[in-house]
Amino acid sequence: MAAPAVKRKTDIGPPHYEKFLHPIIKENYGKWKYHEVVKAGVLVHVSETGAKIFSVRAASPRLLSSTTILLFCDLADKYSGGYLRFTSRNNVEFMLDNEANIDPLINELKQNNIPVGGTKNTISNIVHTQGWVHCHSSATDASGLVKVIMDDLFEYFTEMTLPHKVKIAVACCLNMCGAVHCSDIAILGVHRRPPKIEHKNLKNMCEIPSTVASCPTAAIRPTYVDGKPSVTIDEDRCMFCGNCFSVCPAMPIADPLNDGVSIWVGGKVSNARTQPTFTKLAIPYLPNNPPRWTEVTCAVKKIVTLYAQDAQKYERVGEWIERIGWPRFFELTGFEFTKEHIDDFKHAGLTYRRTTQMKF
């Protein structure tokens, strides 16, 4: 049975990136002088040597078939010397040394229903997660939400008409595998009922101490059910985060009747002008209404439209809201301000208004 030990290749790491750099990029690596936006989706970077590289940015649903990847490969061979890259927001970029290739590439992308855009003051691709496509933890689907929102905001991807960049993120549960906590607009899947405990399996599937420790609000306590060790949840202390389920599979939290999404606004990551900041609650709950989640797309569209009208140039969504004030944000959007909007976790007190400074 024991086969002769073959030396297995491990820990070789990824290929060196240099292999994948367009010759112009390799030559001008670290020598870029400035860039310009040629048009929506097309950047040109100019080197100190005078060399230029044109980047064409195209949309992607991120969840890609090998077929589409191979299409990208063909396009790269045809227009960009066989070189391409993906962005931190999952768009695909073709780097061209020949300006004349730009429009033909864009046309061929369009023929394949792949729009070009996402540069500068646009809404670029939505950073998102697995959802019902692949994750046991999800309270909603991410890919579906991204699709319907981008359909709805499509012209903001292809046209650079906004006051500034708007970064949107979707995550399907409170684990927030993405950038939901620091985005201009974020859509977050939420549960609204405590996990249902499978007492029969619990002891076999889970460590009780770590299950108890997993709860941020100390809602879980050890107990015995039918003589078997298990846990119990103080429902009043549960805020449905699902962390116990991450730790213990015998505590499923999904509940089709009550799962849904919440909407958040005003976060950012860059250090430009204002400091990086968290996204804040706009709408605590909207129902899961697949396939097109109309309540969600309406709400997002409303925020974007108001931002487009009211914000100053170079003002991110959060900067705009800080300037006009949160009361005005709720007034303009018509979103209801509720008890849920008032923080009640650890640092809640620091979010209270501790000044008389107010607009009337």
Binding site: L63, L64, A76, S88, D141, D151, Y314
Partner: protein, 394 residues
């Protein structure tokens, strides 16, 4: 439409944005697993719930991470996705590829998996989405033959990632691609064999714009910056100002957070001593302004998503460090931090939470740094000081 297996999902093939449903269908042309996914997903859309179960431990020999196990709770209906594990392939720095390399990857995947991918996962990996346990070893072997390796998962160093940096960005203050590659190679063991208290994410951004959201999403965030004066090209300033649509006062001067840039109608002046390196003026006038020449990076620690103690942004550990290979100073610091974490960390507690628990002051002391005011926005405002020095009666 009536004989479609996915009438609900079909609605998501409408509209101008590229459709993931179309992608699944394309994959399904090649792989029954993808067809299974389509049908299970249709059920999820109907019932408004996931049909995935908690992942079990599954992986490739000698590796503790890189594979996310996933099983269907409806395998009776959808046997093709009874197993549907993902393979995290360590992406190249900056997500650069050649068409040929991608074709090699796809060949492996079409042979052994669902033909579905994520380009890329949120951490940065090239994600192969959905395969069976039986295929894992082959996938791994074929990947390594072509020069690829797995990324991280579990309580290990997660696949480091970086912005496009000096490869195509004039703002880059250090070589993000080189550092990412170097750290990835230096910490192969830490990446592949989980032995930390919890996950550890590295992200490298070339400048304070932070195009990889490192300050929000990485336990260790390395963000380029500079120490000296912003480089200015006076002629280019004039070009901008000449543009009737460009209002230098409104767009630049009024938005400078430290009010250190001024325009008197003729000259743009920057009081560099008071500049906080926010990038805004440079972003708006990239032809006229550039980061200074004395470049390096700010090191920040502890960002994470909300679970358990609430989300954290990374906080400044070292205001400025030169970033030059072999990055020894950085690696020494990392060694000290991991030693501390090893001794003080609790299972499933990220470094950011660990620091909050023991106190940033104690942490800094123990890893051998001097406390400096740059580490905080402000000194403490509560008088609950754990004084350590005192006199004793003789």
């Amino acid at each position: 439409m009536s004989d479609s297996k996915s009438p609900i999902l079909d609605e998501l093939e409408k509209g101008p944005w590229p459709s993931f449903v179309t992608e699944i269908k394309k994959a399904a042309e090649k792989s029954p697993m993808a067809q299974g996914l389509l049908e299970q997903l249709e059920l999820s859309y109907k019932e408004k719930r996931t049909h995935w179960k908690h992942g079990g431990i599954v992986g490739v020999k000698g590796y503790g991470g890189g594979i996310i196990g996933r099983y269907s709770d409806a395998s009776d209906k959808f046997p093709e996705v009874a197993h549907f594990h993902t393979v995290r392939v360590n992406q190249p720095s900056g997500w650069f590829y050649t068409a040929d390399a991608l074709r090699e990857l796809m060949a492996i995947w079409e042979k052994h998996g669902s033909c579905l991918t994520n380009f890329h996962g949120s951490t940065g990996d090239t994600v192969f989405l959905g395969t069976k346990t039986s295929e894992l070893e082959d996938i791994f072997t074929e990947l390594s033959e072509k020069g690829w390796d797995l990324g991280g998962s579990g309580s290990d160093v997660r696949t480091p990632s970086c912005c496009v940096g000096p490869a195509r960005c004039e703002f880059a203050c250090y070589d993000t691609l080189s550092l990412t590659y170097d750290l990835t190679m230096s910490y192969q063991d830490e990446l592949h064999r989980p032995f930390f208290p919890y996950k550890w994410k590295f992200k490298m951004a070339g400048c304070p714009n932070d195009c990889v959201a490192s300050i929000a999403r990485s336990d260790f965030s390395i963000i380029g910056t500079w120490k000296d004066a912003i480089q200015m090209d006076g002629e280019a300033v004039k070009e901008y100002v000449a543009d009737a649509n460009f209002n230098i006062q409104k767009f630049v001067v009024n938005k400078c957070p430290s009010k250190c840039i001024s325009w008197d109608g003729k000259e743009l002046e920057i009081d560099n001593k008071n500049c906080v390196r926010c990038m805004h003026c440079i972003n708006v006038m990239p032809k006229a302004l550039r980061p200074g020449k004395e470049k390096g990076a700010t090191l920040l620690i502890g960002a994470k998503a909300p679970i358990v103690e609430g989300a954290q942004l990374a906080s400044v550990l070292v205001p400025f460090m030169e970033m030059k290979p072999p990055y020894q100073e950085l690696k020494d610091l990392l060694a000290a931090i991991w030693e501390f974490w090893d001794e003080n960390g609790v299972a499933r507690e990220r470094i950011g939470e660990c620091i909050q628990r023991v106190g940033l002051g104690n942490f800094v002391e123990q890893i051998g740094l001097k406390p400096i005011p740059q580490m905080v926005m402000q000194p403490r405002d509560n008088p609950y000081i754990f004084y350590e020095e005192y006199l004793e009666e003789e």
